[in-house]
């Protein structure tokens, strides 16, 4: 995806655009029987446009199912404000312009009652503006880039407990809580060149430096890097006690495989994103996961109200455990339902005001927002222990009371 030639990208773009256009037309025709113009009777229509085709189609499938599950569940309980909920879903093909056009159409032509958000900072950056301009509450299930919230939108809300800005918080607190003699004295930073991971790595650097942890290696690699042996060997030469790795996908296990090959095992290892991937353990060997830390926006094991019912219900319905995207969509639905129910009517401004002044209990924990729609919480700190990803902080959500401070050597 990162490395294809220009022709290929153009062909893909054309294919995706055609598919999106075809699906949009289909959606238009199929929605002709739906609500035209807002009404106080009949089903409540909730509009959204998702990247159902295109390069992230596989990831967004879970997100779509999360919304479907939420709508089915709420309808089974009698609906919202006594009315059934009906989803009006369009496909943006992961194209910004299509997403803008879709949400404009949902508001201006379809006259949907409410909106729910699409996925990624890439799409939400522009779609949130459409919702704000039309004064529609816009609850996004993903898209935590700072630039989204820098505009201080009134109607925008992020349905996750925190953004990248808070990613290092709990791990840094953990280091701080260790006796000074046991704290790692040196750290290596290795990061994929990506806005998300680079921002996190920058925050880690500042905060760990504040604790007196000395940086002995610092490098950023291109997203399509696949050979990590030379990088692992350079880190081995620097011999840090802690490695903080800003990983996104297969680069997480790849660096560990290279560490194993060059014979280097840090005393502590923190990786972003990758350790939560379902293939993480199988790609490095389950025993080699022991002790690795990561930050999570959601865990299927977190003891928040409704989470275990969601996990079992979703698994039974879709024959597979919910992904983080599925949980985030469901959470966005929970937030919207809580606000609409509390306000008692579909009044966008009143719903936004209520959300700005209240806390909503969700499957990702209690959510509340700043005036710009940024969540006020923190991510979960998780650690691989005995072949399972356990939550170790905060204590209110912890699934394990122990923390493995010294990562065992590779097996």
């Amino acid at each position: 995806m990162h490395h294809g030639n220009a022709t290929r990208r153009w062909m893909r773009a054309i294919t995706a655009a055609s598919t999106a256009a075809a699906l949009t037309l289909t959606a238009c025709s199929s929605s002709s029987t739906g609500t035209k113009g807002r009404s106080s009777s009949g089903p409540i229509t909730i509009g959204m446009s998702l990247p159902l085709t295109g390069p992230v189609a596989d990831n967004s499938k879970g997100g779509y199912q999360g919304y479907q599950y939420w709508a089915d569940e709420i309808n089974a309980k009698g609906g919202l404000l006594g009315r059934k909920v009906k989803l009006n879903v369009l496909d943006d093909g992961f194209n910004q312009n299509t997403a803008i056009a879709d949400y404009t159409k949902l508001i201006g032509q379809e006259h949907v009652d409410l909106l729910l958000g699409t996925f990624s900072s890439f799409l939400n950056l522009s779609v949130a503006q459409v919702a704000e301009r039309n004064k529609y509450v816009y609850i996004e299930p993903s898209g935590g880039a700072d630039s989204i919230f820098a505009r201080n939108f009134k109607y925008l809300f992020f349905a996750q407990p925190a953004t990248t800005k808070n990613l290092p918080d709990r791990f840094v607190s953990l280091i701080q809580s260790m006796p000074a003699a046991q704290r790692p004295k040196t750290v290596a930073f290795v990061t994929q060149d990506d806005p998300n991971t680079s921002e996190a790595a920058g925050l880690f650097k500042t905060q760990l430096a504040g604790l007196g942890v000395r940086s002995v290696y610092n490098s950023t690699y291109a997203p399509d890097t696949s050979n990590f042996d030379a990088i692992a060997n350079s880190i081995k030469q620097a011999n840090p006690e802690l490695v903080v790795h800003g990983a996104l996908g297969d680069d997480g296990p790849s660096l560990i495989r290279s560490f194993q090959k060059v014979g280097f095992s840090p005393k502590m290892l923190f990786q972003t994103n990758s350790p939560a991937d379902p293939s993480y353990a199988s790609s490095i060997g389950a025993s080699n996961t022991e002790g690795t830390f990561t930050a999570l926006a959601y865990s299927s094991e977190a003891p928040f109200p409704g989470n275990s019912a969601f996990v079992s219900g979703y698994t039974a319905k879709f024959k597979g455990a919910p992904s983080e995207d599925a949980a985030n969509s469901y959470t966005a639905g929970q937030v919207l339902a809580a606000a609409v129910t509390a306000v008692g009517k579909i009044d966008q401004s009143a719903i936004a005001d209520w959300l700005h002044s209240h806390t909503v209990q969700t499957i990702v924990g209690p959510l509340s927002w700043s005036s710009s729609g940024q969540p006020k919480g923190s991510l979960l700190l998780a650690q691989w222990q005995s072949g399972r990803l356990q939550i170790v902080a905060p204590s209110s959500a912890a699934t394990s009371k122990t923390v493995v401070y010294a990562k065992p050597a590779w097996q």
């Binding site: 950023t220 042996d229 060059v262 790609s283 060997g285």
Partner: protein, 294 residues
């Protein structure tokens, strides 16, 4: 000094792996003048087949690569008969578009069959190394590199020591001339395409052990393979090997001595440099084209 030696070892071993991945591509171009953009998808198919068989049998995935090569030979034969030869009759230039279409369709089929989750084969040696004093030689890379040398040797022996090989070389020099002396050109072309595709069987097996892969990984590999063959000279087996080692060394040296951010840009910088100085590639030759048919 140790760091330099270690970096050279990593570079040569990665280069060996790259040579393995690109040998079939350059062979098909050298003989048939077909730029097979489906090569990356075929490599990934080879990786999936090897991984799938390894998972179900527990047999070493690199050994399974031999079996995968046989399957990929059949895939190549079918692909040539069903797509390449038909398109070539209409317009030889269309094979580029057709193979690109095969790559996209193939990626979709792989995703339908095996899903889009990440996989990798993890035999006992996948993360272990030989230690020569303070130097490290990763076992999986070494085995893949030795496999590449064996494969290139086999291909060389096939081309130079068998009647089929001589027929193929005759077709590469002049199809009309080869037909005039009684060589079945169509059969030779099909054999050549199938043999070139068969290399993706072992290449895919090595990929399955060394890297994690998803259907989309073909993009990275077709890009890398194109870089290697342009560097070495399109159609030259020796050139592909040299280009691959040069690329592996350049990547490792950049990573160790310059900036990891630039590692994946190195192939393109090398290509620009080579195209400026020697447009036909390091080992490429410029040949007089056959006259257009009347």
């Amino acid at each position: 000094m140790t760091l330099l030696l270690q970096t050279l070892i990593f570079g040569v071993l990665i280069g060996g792996v790259y040579a393995l991945m690109s040998s079939g591509f350059t062979l098909i171009f050298g003989v048939m003048q077909v730029i097979n953009l489906a090569h990356g998808a075929l490599l990934i198919l080879g990786a999936y087949l090897s991984w799938w068989m390894w998972r179900h049998t527990g047999v070493d995935p690199l050994l399974l690569g031999v079996g995968t090569s046989v399957i990929m030979y059949g895939v190549g034969w079918l692909l040539h008969k069903a797509v390449v030869s038909r398109v070539q009759r209409i317009d030889p230039g269309l094979t580029l578009v057709a193979s690109f279409a095969v790559a996209i369709a193939g990626e979709g089929v792989i995703a339908l069959v095996w899903g889009t989750s990440r996989h990798s084969a993890t035999p006992s040696y996948f993360n272990t190394s030989y230690h020569l004093g303070s130097l490290i030689v990763p076992k999986a890379q070494l085995y893949a590199c030795l496999g590449a040398i064996a494969l290139l040797g086999l291909l060389f022996a096939l081309l130079h020591g068998t009647f089929l090989g001589r027929s193929i070389r005759a077709c590469a020099t002049s199809r009309d001339g080869a037909a005039l002396v009684g060589i079945d050109v169509d059969r030779c072309m099909t054999q050549m395409f199938a043999i070139g595709t068969a290399t993706t069987g072992f290449g895919g097996a090595a990929l399955a052990v060394l890297y994690q892969f998803i259907p989309d990984s073909q993009d990275v590999w077709i890009g890398r393979v194109l870089c290697i063959v342009v560097l070495g000279g399109l159609g030259s087996l020796g050139g592909a090997a040299a280009g691959a080692v040069l690329l592996g060394l350049a990547e490792s040296m950049t990573s160790a001595y310059w900036d990891t951010r630039w590692t994946t840009a190195v192939p393109y910088m090398l290509i620009i440099a080579i195209l400026l100085v020697r447009p036909q590639g390091i080992f490429g030759t410029t040949l007089r084209r056959e006259g257009a048919p009347a």
